[in-house]
């Protein structure tokens, strides 16, 4: 199975909102703790190492692209 990047939620705003609200009132460290647990729970739910690796690649690529953009702007 490949990583699905089409929109899977009927109401994507609800999903985004649920994650945002989970972080409300947390310090940066607490937020990072929450994210760590969330990533592990969701990764296990997906249960497919190839999908997980694809997701990691996608997440990291966005990060690298972002850094390159920043560097170009500087």
């Amino acid at each position: 199975m490949a990583l699905s990047t089409s929109s899977n939620f009927a109401r994507p705003d609800d999903a985004f909102r649920a994650i945002v609200e989970a972080h409300r009132g947390l310090s940066d460290a607490e937020s990072a703790d929450l994210d760590a647990a969330l990533v592990l729970i969701l990764a296990n739910h997906i249960g497919d190492i190839d999908v997980l690796r694809e997701a990691i690649v996608l997440a990291k690529r966005r990060m690298i692209d972002g850094q390159q953009q920043q560097q170009q702007q500087q």
Partner: protein, 537 residues
């Protein structure tokens, strides 16, 4: 502190009186009389080879060192004639518990099923294992064990290796077709061939204390993350024979090793853990570890096995056990090459197969180490999340890594013949054989591993009879289950573990690995698989 259990005298050998340009010639010299070198020498001698075994010391090493010996190692030692002695002395265990803080996170059983001759593990001090192996060598013809013989130089020639050996009475030289370097992590032979030993160094320090005490803890492996008696770090408790307990405590990266190793400073740490100080020290050691391997295990006619070839962290019992797997993988191949029944290229499969195993062992033990000693804040955060999820979820428990214990590696090997038919289970080609209870004709209880061992371990054809079973080729031992005159599989476990139907057959290598398997074996298909496994094509 523990003393060496056995001391041996240096004895002059006639080889030392040979003139320098004309050294004595041998077939195989094993360097290093640790568990790997001793086992390899016995294996080769049982196959009819004459072996010279050199060691630079005159005694069995001090301290318990390796203590966990795996089922696979015990099955190998059965074939070497020392299994019973090891198991009789050792403490048998299969259950491990993982704690976090005050509470147990989970427990695991490494051998949850019956019908195996040997347990998942025994714990036994390395000095006992070595002493029993030395005793076995004394009983065997063919092994010339020379203490206080230190190899100081090595010269590779086209058809031989010439070693220079230092003794208390001066140096001498000998010539040999092959040298097996089992001289440990600080191998001097590795330096002599100029090979690198690359890998990862871990900065964390661990304290090993073997203490003698009478205690009521069960014979299980207990591992703590952040225990109340050793806040923020990990701890391990494990039983050995003679009321000796292995305690392993993680220290900080900047702990002062000289200070930490002093018994008066170790004592309060252990007392906090045990809740009393009624114990004596057997051995204290402070270590950092490294995970690294040689790029190639073969250097011309010098072959590396055990810690000289690869080194892992101790969590997982992958050091000595993988060295013993090296020995069992190498000895039958070297024996065939020395006899001329297989080409020297068969030895390349030793490098290939045991490299796969070394990589797997390094990967597993590195992961365990990283879990125990996270390298960054984010790694520590992910570990914290796993430990807290483990309290409430099954998946969290399975992610907690307090050491993944040694199991035999599966080889993706040129010696294996791929399956040509459909199998739903059973050991694939390249996997280790599985044990199962069977009854010999007399109705006596026995095991498949016994049948494999009986009469010496060469290739064997394990077949599940359908009345007209195909015959094993010449020189291949027949192990026939079912049918007239066959072994009885009354519990049905052999058939189940091998996913066998009437007519199914497995071709086993001399090291107990599956070379090929057949639903409908023919003389031709067996012969082809055999010749492939012998490195003949």
């Amino acid at each position: 502190m523990a003393q060496a259990k056995t001391q041996f005298g240096y004895r002059r050998h006639p080889d030392q009186d040979r003139p320098g340009p004309n050294p004595a010639e041998h077939a195989v010299v094993v360097v290093g009389a640790g568990p790997v070198g001793l086992s390899l020498a016995i294996d080769l001698a049982q196959r009819g080879q004459r072996v010279v075994l050199l060691d630079d010391a005159d005694r069995i090493g001090e301290g318990s060192r390796a203590i966990c010996f795996s089922k696979r190692s015990l099955e190998y030692w059965d074939r070497l004639g020392v299994g019973d002695r090891m198991v009789d002395k050792g403490v048998v265990w299969s259950v491990g518990r993982i704690f976090h803080g005050e509470s147990q996170l989970y427990q695991f059983n490494l051998l949850p099923e019956d019908g195996h001759k040997r347990p998942a593990f025994i714990n036994l001090q390395q000095y006992y294992a070595e002493a029993y192996l030395v005793d076995r060598i004394t009983d065997l013809p063919g092994i010339d064990l020379r203490w206080r013989n230190k190899v100081t130089a090595l010269e590779q020639r086209n058809d031989s290796v010439v070693l220079t050996i230092e003794t208390p009475e001066g140096a001498y030289r000998l010539s040999t077709q092959y040298v097996i370097a089992c001289d440990g992590a600080r191998s001097s032979l590795r330096q002599m061939v100029g090979a690198e030993f690359a890998g990862q160094v871990f900065e964390d320090q661990f304290l090993i204390a073997d203490v003698k005490m009478t205690a009521e803890f069960p014979t299980e492996r207990w591992f703590w993350f952040d225990p109340p008696f050793h806040g923020g770090r990990s701890a391990l408790l494990h039983r050995q024979p003679d009321d000796v307990w292995r305690i392993d405590l993680q220290l900080s990266r900047d702990a002062d090793p000289v200070f930490e190793k002093k018994p008066e400073n170790v004592r309060p740490r252990i007392a906090r853990m045990l809740g009393h100080d009624k114990f004596e020290f057997e051995w204290i050691s402070l270590y950092k570890f490294q995970c690294r391997r040689m790029d190639r295990f073969l250097h011309g006619r010098v072959i590396f096995a055990g810690d000289s070839a690869h080194q892992v962290s101790p969590f997982g019992a992958r050091g000595a056990n993988s060295g013993l797997e090296d020995a069992e993988n190498l000895s039958w191949k070297l024996d065939r090459v020395l006899r001329g029944s297989s080409p020297a290229s068969l030895l390349e499969s030793y490098h290939l197969e045991r490299s796969l195993a070394a990589d797997e062992n390094i990967r597993e033990s590195t992961r365990s180490t990283d879990f125990m000693a996270p390298n960054t804040d984010q790694e520590a955060r992910l570990r914290k999340a796993v430990l807290s999820l483990a309290k409430v979820t099954e998946f969290g428990k399975r992610m907690v890594n307090g050491g993944r214990l040694s199991v035999p590696c599966s080889y993706d090997s040129p010696l294996s013949s791929p399956d040509a038919e459909a199998w739903r289970g059973g050991p694939r080609p390249g996997c280790s054989m599985l044990d199962a209870p069977i009854e010999a004709r007399a109705g006596e209880q026995s095991y498949l591993t016994d049948m494999f061992r009986n009469g010496g371990t060469d290739f064997a054809l394990l077949s599940f009879s359908n009345g007209a079973a195909v015959e094993a080729p010449d020189g291949v031992k027949d192990i026939r289950i079912g049918g007239a005159g066959g072994l009885a599989d009354s519990a049905g476990l052999a058939a189940k573990r091998y996913d066998a139907e009437p007519g199914s057959a497995y071709l086993l290598r001399p090291d107990g690995y599956v070379a090929a398997r057949f639903r409908h074996p023919t003389r031709g298909s067996i012969a082809a698989a055999l010749s492939r496994a012998e490195g003949l094509n």
